[in-house]
Symmetry: C2
Subunit: 357 residues, 2 copies
Amino acid sequence: MNKPFSDKLRAVEPYTPGEQSKNNDIIKLNANENPYPPSPKVIEAIKGFEAEKLCLYPSSSAYALTEALAQYHGLDVNQVFVGNGSDEVIALSYLAFFNSDKPIFFPDITYSFYPVWCRLFNVPYETKSVDKNFIINPKDYYSANGGVILPNPNAPTGISEGRGFIEDILDHNRDVIVIIDEAYVDFGGYSAIELINKYDNLIVVQTFSKSRSLAGMRIGAAFGSAELISLLKAVKNCYNSYPIDSVAIAAGVASVEDDAYFKNTINKVIRTRERFSQELKGLGFTVFPSHSNFVFASKPDVNAKSLFEAAKKENIYIRYFDLPRIDNFLRITIGTDEQMDIFLNFIKRYLSSLSGC
Amino acid sequence: MNKPFSDKLRAVEPYTPGEQSKNNDIIKLNANENPYPPSPKVIEAIKGFEAEKLCLYPSSSAYALTEALAQYHGLDVNQVFVGNGSDEVIALSYLAFFNSDKPIFFPDITYSFYPVWCRLFNVPYETKSVDKNFIINPKDYYSANGGVILPNPNAPTGISEGRGFIEDILDHNRDVIVIIDEAYVDFGGYSAIELINKYDNLIVVQTFSKSRSLAGMRIGAAFGSAELISLLKAVKNCYNSYPIDSVAIAAGVASVEDDAYFKNTINKVIRTRERFSQELKGLGFTVFPSHSNFVFASKPDVNAKSLFEAAKKENIYIRYFDLPRIDNFLRITIGTDEQMDIFLNFIKRYLSSLSGC
């Protein structure tokens, strides 16, 4: 572009989410979506929503939803924040909490949106290498920094850490805010929500997109001290007064209220994940122990990118990252048992086609 | 707050939207909401939405909605952007287009969110005084600046400018981006959308919250050259991949498709506005010529703040701004004829109670 105003324009490199397709016949294992629909109570809440009232603005704080979440987690309502997906919640948290000249720290292998927000908001950052088994070393996070963001379980590895690890990080970072991104925690990880009343430097972020089958509804949440949450609300109110629409608020409340459905769905995904992981290992893959709704796998003698492309040709979408250290790995979302069987059959055919050469 | 991490926290002064109330009996004329429900086609789209599919992410660009808007306005789909309400669209536009050391310009009497975004994103700004009749002087916008944002019609005055005025501003600012915020344009203002193919420095922002009765659904849009829109999309994808949920996309498309309902609703609001303005003038108020769904009025011998508070006691909510130059004015949203009659009766009683003292 060579326009008189070119110097005022922002050139940025966005995060690339898992590909969407208009083709309904694909087996979509590339965006960590839940293969099961949301709770029937959610569906009822949407169909029964008084749409005539949409002429009015929603509650700016999505009050009913913060209240439902507070009750669910045994917190005070002023310890809860909701936003337009956990991506928005994290973006606003950067603006609210990462305001230092020192770099924020996060792992080199992690959610690839973290550095994108740093560049968007001019937040300096430094990545810390995970070890060869993709394990985070908490000591890497002891030195002076402007804040810490860690996903637990980590993505795209699925590896989860426990309370001792999280407290170690929190104890060694009392002078900054530590954000624990628990997008996948419901699939068997350790949640730091219980630490909120113990650590005033902790923010926990969760999402309705994975375990609650509501990726299409855009709901994320943050939990922290009333002080930190009030700052996050103030920043949100400097960006957009009403990020959650009224239908989403009603859907979110219905989801939180149907705990039996929620737990049942999670258990189905976990059972499928464990079986699928075993079968994949049986085919010679290295599969990291996952506490999420995906597995991260590699077979040293098989080119991951070629396998990814071959799967796509058969309408099976998985995720491949062309990034240092993980460019021979695949991230495979856990779908239904039927979907995973189709994928396993594809892999078997693919591997025998290789050995047959 | 006196915590070890206090220096990393952001203290901000947010925009304050018109008060919401849990009381259903109030007459709500304080947030420029539409008193009529959205189109029956919108309501059908929500009730008929396949909520089972909410386990999947929405289209990141809300493609179906950008396509509907492109067709509606005779533009190419890549000249259209949608976001979570026009507030988010403007916030992202600041990040995409206002990146200069020079201040951006906007009127001193205008939408009070403009300086809030400047402070959030560290964008320098300078306000330009409107004249004593609240008219914007285009010459004030000729000098060197980092960008211009103007609402047309202006808020909270409701005053609208025509094509000559807009082209004057655009011609004198070819080296920056000019954002025309048309939140209220459908109620009789001049839309600069027809200028998009003529001026590559123009961004027009609109919203579904007022004329389309969808404040509760959070949909805003930007129109501009394919080049500018692609930059705006890239910035959006650095903040949040999916700001519009799947139900909102379906509702938005249904709204755009039902043009007869849209025009009928607008005409009802305009007829009520004209009658209400006349009656208010008859009671001795100065009422500015409005091309929006509100009027801005003042009666020099009546204290606006006291009237605002007295109305609130009778469950009639209007808007009062305790700001320089406009602290004896009231902004009154146009409701139904019945609502405006109740308000007029209140005013008559209030005025006679004053003269009776």
